[in-house]
């Protein structure tokens, strides 16, 4: 519950994490067993805390690894060495001031770089573990057709108004805060809060999911929501969350409104939750796919993000295009 407030992050031992993770994601649901880890005051497994949703493994496995799931000691050491290497950013660039090429969007200058903050070392060669090649299956033809229709709607109108911009630019959804959760570029932090009968899961830039854990099933007819509708239950030490009922415009990785997501949260040590997910969408992929990665508890609270309230980007995108149009008209 409150351990994150009082305890400093302890570096995970990569090897230990890897061993625990090796059995995850591709196994069928565990049989009903009694929890063995820490419990809340009311007897549920305790997975609460604020976590960094960063891990060193890429989402998809580089093809050079084939079906090999784990890095060797030398490979892992080299990746860690490169990750932790201080990076220097050359602000005295030779780009021309006032041009698009002169824009710096450098996370390191805000102490948000990959070598800063909390990261979850992970010896896996990829987050995706199913199928065995560690790569997301190819989309079905109907999924490609949906994507093309969505693209056609905005083609040539991308800067006409806010409705033609991406859902993320509009502060509606961030792909890393939807179920399934995936590491994002920045602010990739997660709060898990528990109370009797409920677990709340909220990404820093996303919406809170208030998930009942009383064993109720997902209703048949769900009103579509951006984040879907989630129900949960406990299997031993693991919180299992089922989510469906997404809005079709979500199109997470090209998915349809038939997307169903199963997530599994398991505390594997004092600082680490193993997060595993499986996605099923017969309108998008011929087979289910999924993955697993560790998330690491931080000594922090989750801060307010207030995306819409500070969305100067949208105004700048549109006004920039209007300025460009005026310049083009004046030049004719």
């Amino acid at each position: 519950m409150k351990h994150s407030m009082t305890r400093l992050h302890r570096s995970s031992i990569a090897g230990a994490v890897a061993c625990v993770l090796a059995a995850a994601a591709t196994l069928p649901a565990a049989a009903q067993t009694s929890p063995t880890g820490p419990l809340t005051a009311w007897g549920d497994p305790d997975i609460a805390g604020v976590y960094a949703l960063y891990t060193t493994a890429p989402l998809e496995r580089p093809e050079q690894f084939g079906e090999r799931e784990f890095l060797t000691d030398d490979e892992f050491a080299e990746i860690e060495r490169r990750r932790l290497e201080p990076r220097e950013f050359n602000f005295e660039s030779d780009t021309e001031p006032g041009t698009a090429g002169d824009v710096h969007y450098n996370l390191d200058q805000f102490a948000l770089g990959a070598n800063e903050g909390v990261n979850s070392p992970n010896r896996r060669t990829s987050i995706v573990t199913m199928p065995a090649n560690g790569r997301i299956p190819a989309a079905l033809p109907q999924a490609a057709a949906r994507r093309e229709a969505a693209t056609a709607r905005t083609r040539g109108r991308q800067f006409d108004g806010p409705e033609f911009r991406s859902l993320t630019e509009r502060c509606i959804v961030w792909s890393q805060t939807l179920p399934p959760l995936l590491p994002g570029g920045y602010n990739s932090n997660l709060q898990i809060f528990q109370s009797p009968g409920y677990v709340l899961i909220q990404g820093e830039m996303g919406d809170p999911r208030v998930i009942p854990t009383d064993g109720r099933a997902l209703p048949e007819n769900l009103l579509p929501q951006w984040n879907g509708t989630s129900v949960g239950h406990w299997e031993g030490d693991t919180l299992v969350v089922e989510t469906a009922g997404f809005r079709p415009e979500n199109a997470w990785r090209g998915s349809s409104d038939q997307l169903r997501v199963t997530e599994r949260f398991t505390r594997v040590d004092e600082d680490t939750i193993e997060y595993a997910f499986t996605v099923v969408d017969p309108e998008t992929w011929a087979e289910p796919w999924g993955g697993v990665f560790p998330i690491t508890e931080m000594d922090s609270v989750l801060f307010e993000y207030a995306c819409t309230e500070g969305n100067y980007g949208m105004a700048n995108i549109l006004s920039g295009e209007r300025a460009r149009e005026r310049e083009a008209a004046a030049g004719q």
Partner: protein, 276 residues
Amino acid sequence: MRISTAGFVLVAAVFCGACASDEADGDTVEFPRAAGGQPDLSGVWQAINTAHWNLEPHVPGYPVLLDLGAQFAVPPGPGVVDGGEIPYLPEARAERDRRFANRLTEDPEGKCYLGGVPRSTYMPYPFQILQNEDDILIVYQFATGTRRLFVDGTDPAPLDSWMGWSNAHWEGDTLVVEVTGFNGQTWLDRAGNYASAGAKVTERYTPLGPDHLQYEATIEDASVYSRPWTIRMPLYRIVDEDFRLLEFKCEPFAEEKVYGHLRKPGTEFPEEVRSQ
């Protein structure tokens, strides 16, 4: 319970209504309690009053756009402020009146901005309280705002925010929440009432009956008011079976208002998105 003379009539009327319904079926149902003995505030709650239109007593009023007609007119209300009127300093009252005049463009609610505290409590949307033995978290349907309440927390606000920084403690059966660290951009209602970034809001949540809470908020802000002042209203538990907050992502509904002036000249709001 803290009931001043001024607020007594309204509160008493609601309170007795609740008592009557509880007694009617012969139950002596008590407010749920947590394992530690404190009231368990967990549940979905909502205010039922016109405070979101105007905290002060108000007669019916015209809609902000006349074309909106009677269904968007302002319903009357007796107000929820102890003593009736907010004790503004003269310049601050003029600022409130200016905001009221400009409410169509300036009220952050219309832009889908986080409601702040105490406004989020009595906006016309439900909110859910989650409580464990250590802490409390509130999820508001409007703009999917959340607040973490640090029970027995003493840390000062680490930075300014829309929903503020909430340290809470129990005084008997009352949860007292001291909220600071505001950014000064929230309003208190649709009538232009406001506080500054320096405001301190002290909320009190007290059980009234099994499905009712008394909610009080005292607002201190020496740059805006001549003295601290208090609002008070009951909150009602949503008792529908398996009730869940539905998402209210309001961003799409505010885009034309906020960014419409930047739309490509000669084009209009794309009507097809209305069906989404």
